[in-house]
């Protein structure tokens, strides 16, 4: 508990988590407002459409999580941390917990604020949260952000440099997972098993067939698993990366 309190103090006595939280909310809610404002009879506002910006918020949360580790290396405070608590695994686990919880809170606030903005701008639209799919699309954002934060902390602890860690995260999410599709024949199959596609699957995949047109929101993911196993897969990848980071950090000179 002490370590969690320490990591909470460290996180919130710097500015980057505040800025990243504000930016994540602005992007997600901003996109929801945009979608609501441009909706019309042929393209009605749906629950899925209010969550159009969740990918942008996801990237910002990952940047925040990576920075939480890399700035400690940048400014040498990681050594002060390891002097205060020589058990490095505990330090990093506490940091991961705090950052992941912040990610989850940001995700939930962003998702429900986006949904609320949609309701505010288009009171007539049917935005009721009824099906499992609709609940996942909104409330699930927090879970995805939570695991994404875990993954980003792991990458940050492995790479130790802000620019390097953030580049890897951005290149992976924006480029690699998109460009894999261009590989002839096997591209689609590989894409079905990539971690962020799985995360997408949890939010957008497997819509209730009796429900409205899925085209009016983020395009549904084509992944190799059903939504909940897909989330477990994404979380598993995040945890594996974190464990590698913990082992490496323990062995490495600080």
């Amino acid at each position: 508990m002490t370590l969690l309190a320490v990591e909470r103090m460290k996180l919130f006595t710097t500015r980057s988590p505040w800025w990243c939280t504000a930016l994540a909310l602005a992007l997600t809610v901003g996109f929801a407002a945009l979608m609501a404002a441009t909706a019309n009879d042929t393209v009605p506002l749906t629950v899925a459409a209010t969550q159009f910006g969740f990918q942008f918020g996801l990237v910002v949360v990952m940047v925040m999580a990576a920075l939480a580790v890399t700035t400690e290396y940048r400014f040498g405070t990681i050594r002060a941390s390891f002097l205060a608590t020589p058990n490095r695994t505990s330090v990093l686990l506490a940091k991961t917990t705090v950052v992941a919880l912040l990610g989850a809170v940001v995700g939930e606030v962003a998702a429900f604020a986006s949904w609320g903005v949609g309701k505010l701008i288009r009171p007539e639209a049917d935005l009721a949260l009824q099906t499992a799919y609709e609940w996942r699309a909104v409330a699930g954002v927090g879970l995805v952000y939570l695991f994404a934060a875990v993954l980003a902390v792991g990458v940050g602890a492995l790479i130790r440099q802000s620019a390097g860690a953030i580049s890897i995260l951005l290149i992976w999410t924006f480029l690699v997972e998109g460009l894999v599709l261009l590989i002839p024949r096997v591209g689609d199959d590989i894409n079905r098993w990539l971690p962020f596609n799985m995360a997408n699957m949890f939010i957008t995949g497997d819509p209730d067939p009796s429900n409205r047109d899925v085209a009016f929101g983020p395009p549904p993911a084509d992944a190799g698993l059903a939504p909940w196993p897909a989330l477990a897969y994404f979380g598993g990848v995040a945890v594996i990366i974190l464990v590698i980071a913990l082992v490496v950090t323990k062995r490495r000179d600080a």
Partner: protein, 315 residues
Amino acid sequence: MIEASGLTKRYGKTLAVDNLSFTAQSGRVTGFLGPNGAGKSTTMRMVLGLDTPTAGDVRIDGKHYRDLKDPLRTVGALLDAKWVHPNRSARAHLAWLARSNRIPAKRVDEVLELVGLTGVAGKNAGGFSLGMSQRLGIAGALLGDPKVLLFDEPVNGLDPEGILWIRKFMHRLADEGRTVFVSSHLLSEMALTAQELVVIGRGKLIAQTSTEEFVAMATEASVRVRSPQLDQLRSALGRDGVSIRDEGDSLVVTGIDAAAIGDLAAAASIALHELSPQRGSLEEAFMQLTGDSVEYHTDIANDTAALLATGSVAR
């Protein structure tokens, strides 16, 4: 007390610390002296468990650093004053350190007072001058009221006032019975600060003695003699263990003290115009002792001579 035995750290082919053994006693300021790149910082990082030794062992009061419970209560360290987040206030920096080792929050204000930073406690550490950062680092080291303190080059880049403050501070800490282990590359500074010395060069132990002994051993104890009868004096002094060097109209004699020279001169009825013991500078002495063990050696005198001899100095 800090005890290192056979401490070794290898980076690839480079041996940064080579089979180093030493002790730092409680109640004393122990200076850790060596030229830049001698392995002082690496050694300190191994003492604190930040780096893992390739071989050997180092213990603090009989324990490895990583086995200490709430280590800041036993060991305080200032390795780098810049290990602070620039956008975090001095108080916030100390507050999380205190919390991590279950140190009461009021101790933060105490140490801030102790180092004279109370007035800027709410200011971001990024805006601090080197002297202020150094004080903040010392405040962090003192947070847990530790018995053992390590400081890596604490006076580097400080103004004379700051240097004096740190020097007095270390003495006070040692007088309170604490172990103070402080590194420096300046013998003149250590001669004033430390009572004991651990001297290293290229990762190897050169000497562990009291500062007094080391200074006496290091500084060439020579005697300058002037006399109208130099030749007679030279033959009177000519015996085993005595070396004589001509310097203008005087002799510089080593291996025999001034009193003995006076007696010899009187016995041989030689008039003396000057008989003065000389002390070499500490820096000269230090260079003499560690000269062969400086890693990045620039033999300025020889290089210059070689350049002048071949006439290849660019004009």
